[in-house]
């Protein structure tokens, strides 16, 4: 058994932060940020918002589009770098807010910016095994404003907060396939843990994001090309067979370089990084939702989702919409 995407949804925090806003506390400029990242603004959570409120709203939008009642959901996978609590898992709290069954399978997974595609892979395995047979949700909820180092002008301008979700339905004949790699490298992209109050260790670090931009750029561009080529080749497909490629929105320069390297028409690569920045695993489901609602893909279209990030991990997912 395979699956198809029945509905999509997304939610953004109300607060928008422009590049100009960042110049009030950082030695930077709108021109510097735009030319190096393509980003003009990003959304960040305020005191009244949380990953739970964002994820719940994104799931409700997806359920509405899918014309699906909460009790039909058998599995909810939430992808996040860190939920509102270290424990319980965010998926447990979302399930309650949505009114899902108390027998729903809940789990959080953290595969950084590749999380959404790994979430789809988990759902795919549940459908294929027969452990679920009807419907599932994969929701990505990310609060990068909680992890960015707001004193580091080179990295903090890249990030924002968002949630994106899909409702999946079992579908016997739909094409779904994946290609992925992981290397176990924590040097060029990581988020350190916060200091704790254990009497037995002296670690006093801050839980902030560190990134070697040049090395991440090289990894990203080469990974996009390699993963997409691999998943297409495995399925006897060419780029011409794909309606749209949804790339992780990390930096417009990465997207443009990858498009150039692949030699595929830029029109096949929707992007929204200009308005949202990098929201880790949420970038692709949010972009997918915006594209679906704008009529950018049609039923039966083959699409490829491709992400790269901490791990170092990269993954491509071929789907029939």
């Amino acid at each position: 058994m395979s699956f198809r995407i029945l509905g999509t949804g997304s939610a953004l925090p109300a607060t928008t932060v422009s590049n100009e806003d960042l110049t009030k506390f950082l030695d930077t400029s709108d021109e510097w940020i735009r030319t190096r990242t393509g980003i003009t603004e990003r959304h960040v959570m305020n005191d009244e918002e949380s990953l739970l409120t964002l994820a719940t709203a994104a799931c409700q939008n997806a359920l509405e589009m899918a014309q699906t009642a909460p009790e039909e959901i058998e599995l909810i996978v939430c992808t996040t770098l860190a939920g509102d609590y270290t424990s319980p898992a965010l998926s447990c709290l979302i399930a309650k807010e949505l009114g899902l069954s108390d027998r729903v399978i809940t789990m959080d997974t953290n595969m950084g910016c590749c999380g959404f595609e790994y979430g789809l892979q988990i759902a795919h395995a549940y459908f294929a095994s027969g452990m679920i047979s009807k419907k599932a949700i994969v929701v990505s909820a990310e609060g990068l404003s909680r992890h960015a180092d707001w004193t580091d002008r080179a990295t903090c301008c890249l990030f924002g907060d968002a949630s994106g979700a899909v409702v999946l339905e079992a579908a016997p004949d739909r094409k779904v396939d994946f290609d992925w790699t992981v290397s176990g490298n924590a040097d060029i992209l990581n988020i350190t843990r916060h200091a704790d109050n254990s009497p037995w260790n002296s670690y006093d670090g801050k839980g902030v994001l560190h990134m070697n931009g040049q090395e991440v750029f090289k990894f990203a561009v080469s990974s996009i090309n390699a993963r997409i080529c691999a998943v297409l080749e495995k399925n006897g497909l060419a780029p011409d067979d794909i309606a749209k490629f949804f790339l992780h929105q990390a930096n417009i320069r990465i997207i443009n370089s990858a498009i150039h390297k692949m030699g595929v028409a830029p029109e096949k690569f929707p992007h929204n990084i200009e308005r949202l920045g990098n929201t880790s695993s949420a970038t692709i489901p949010v972009l997918l939702d915006e594209t679906v609602r704008a009529g950018g893909i049609q039923r039966g279209d083959k699409i490829v989702l491709c992400a790269f990030g901490a791990g170092l991990a990269s993954i491509a997912c071929l789907l029939e919409y």
Binding site: R36, Q214, E215, F217, S222, R253
Partner: protein
């Protein structure tokens, strides 16, 4: 080697090779950090070498020396 690197960088910048000074810093040539990363990827592909970027590698002459020292 140097001529090859100058040709790659000139093409990237849309300039004539004669306009590229090998001892000018990449920054002076108008290249930012991501331009350099993109160029290094192209150089790695074309010359079958691996280049680990660092702040010291800031002009063509130093890049040539780095690649030649790789043997």
């Amino acid at each position: 080697m140097k001529e090859k690197l100058i040709a790659i960088i000139a093409e990237y910048l849309g300039k004539d090779a004669s306009e590229i000074e090998a001892d000018a810093t990449f920054e002076d040539l108008g290249l930012d950090s991501l331009d350099i990363a993109e160029l290094v990827m192209q150089i790695e592909d074309e010359l079958s070498v691996t280049i680990e970027l660092n702040a010291e590698l800031n002009n063509i002459d130093k890049l040539v020396e780095y690649i030649e020292n790789q043997g």
